[in-house]
Symmetry: C2
Subunit: 340 residues, 2 copies
């Protein structure tokens, strides 16, 4: 197979992986990962609380180490790699983005629910004013038809975003759906297009290939899949697969495998398997970061996690509605008590 | 998406999983898995030593419990599910197949290297004479061009095979390659077509979808991916994905998740992650069951596993040549000693 387009890999181990780590990354872990990613030539990697800048809180989980300290540490180790930060309007504020830029971030990814791009206007504008490369990150992309995705991406473009992402937060998209969505963005929006996968249906690599074949220029991955739910597209495997497919990523395969196995595998609290609950998140289409909360609520109220996830899917619950999980668990427990 | 064709799932947890278990399945484990698969309505599942009937040996690893005893136990628990056995000419003999049929097997899968179907003639004929549903299983399918695959499949057909499998033993195939191979078999061979994946490149689900879309009627999976290398297509996830894609498998999703999580997850010795070495097997294209031997040899001789795997790939090493692994490791160690 001949050489195809260049694609740009962005590693989210130090941001999406924060969920799996219960936000307890140490500075040493961040330095070691950042050094490895830099050495492997990964062009971008993200460092933030799992729920974005300012996410350290009672609701989302407190960070063990302040993310600004982690960004600065990563910047010292990262060599030629650029550092991105995630920011969700409503969680991260103006000051967080200014501080992140000062700490060494050069890209901001402003994330909203698939139907809510308009809450991102100020953040996008601020990011551009700070001189950051600016991304609109449309989460839970499976929850709206492609026409809505295009309309929302156009809003991001109008605010000044340079790249717009299809973000499969729930790991619920099928490859033909990814193709359709990415192709529609390439045809209708002037921004570059990115794709962010979760592996809840064992489709993260399939979907990432589908995205690239449909024209995506940016693709996200995480080392050893470290991320919410069943994790992300496995960065080091993606480098191998795109090499086999004839795409140019610029990532060194031996070095990227080394940081995955010698660094990340050693501190991961548990493997990123597809368990019954993460599978069900993809199948029912609910938010990946709900996983740990759902398991806890299921155990606390003695109900089946899958019942909780199916109901959350039907309710189209979104990030920020973590309180719903406990309500749903209580409701199922009550119904079961009545039925007995 | 409307209802598409019916596809037939075959679970290999109790055969390919034998590699990951170092062939130490207990009778209780086999009964529990068999009962769960039967309850979930999985139409076929396989029970044999990882290297097929008669594989229990010094070279391939001794089984903890005799496979005939395990087949009989599985048959007692399996309900309406049918039991298949794997047999490799040169390892399994005439008597093994007769005994397996007597113990309750109703399908035999006769496996050869992609270029060696002609060694399977007697086994295929015997299987038909025993009244077993008979499959030709072409391993290491990435090692020969599609024209050779078709020619070898036609041999299987001429011997009496009813189904022929494209078997990606090394987890090295890419989705477009799977499509091409399966489509060529559907167009040129009268047998039904099956596909068996390994997840070394995180493509098992992508490849399984590609196979079905190209016309495959049988697809293999294993619970929690339990199998050689990074394991197989995850059975319970496959059931969910094909449901979402509109194919009919007849498998109950809650029940199949239960046996995966409540039974298999509890006895797995380690998660089926994609490690550096299993990734490299897929990338270099070497035999999945080489994994543990390669790790042992790398450790023993103090060399990089990946160097061993790349050389084995270049040598086109095949199953049965496990001795080569140690030779290659020694050779690399010697070269490194000279270089120092």
């Amino acid at each position: 197979m001949g050489m195809k387009n260049k694609i740009t890999m962005l590693d989210v181990t130090l941001r999406d992986g924060s969920h799996s780590m219960r936000h307890a990354f140490t500075e040493q872990q961040v330095r070691d990962v950042a050094r490895g990613l830099g050495k492997a030539g990964v062009p971008y990697f993200e460092v933030s609380h799992g729920d974005g800048l300012g996410g350290s809180s009672l609701q989302y989980g407190f960070s063990k180490v302040d993310e600004l300290k982690l960004i600065a540490a990563a910047r010292e180790e990262a060599g030629d790699s650029k550092i991105s930060v995630l920011i969700l309007p409503g969680i991260g504020i103006h000051e967080d983005l200014v501080n992140a830029a000062n700490a060494g971030a050069s890209m901001a990814r402003v994330a909203t629910h698939i139907t809510e791009a308009d809450v991102a206007k100020q953040h996008i504008e601020l990011s551009r004013n700070l001189g950051l490369e600016t991304v609109g990150f449309l989460m839970m992309a499976h929850m709206a038809p492609t026409s809505v995705l295009v309309e929302q991406a156009k809003k991001f473009e109008s605010y000044g975003a340079e790249i717009v992402y299809v973000t499969d937060s729930a790991g619920a998209l099928l490859p033909h759906e990814v193709s359709e969505k990415v192709r529609a963005l390439r045809e209708n929006v002037g921004c570059k297009v990115g794709f962010h996968a979760h592996n809840n249906l064992s489709l993260s690599m399939a979907n990432t290939i589908a995205a690239v074949e449909a024209g995506a220029q940016f693709v996200d991955g995480s080392l050893r899949c470290l991320g919410a739910g069943s994790g992300n597209t496995q960065t080091e495997v993606m480098a191998a697969v795109f090499d086999r497919l004839g795409y140019k990523t610029g990532v060194d395969l031996f070095n990227i495998i080394d940081v995955a196995n010698d660094v990340v595998a050693k501190f991961m609290p548990r493997p990123q398997e597809i368990t019954g609950s993460s599978l069900f998140m993809g199948y029912a289409g609910v938010y990946s970061s709900f996983l740990l909360f759902t398991q806890e609520a299921a155990e606390r109220y003695g109900v089946d996690e899958r019942e909780i996830l199916i109901r959350l899917g039907k309710m189209k619950a979104v990030g920020g509605q973590e309180d719903l999980i406990v309500e749903v668990a209580q409701q199922i427990a009550n119904e079961q008590a009545v039925a007995k």
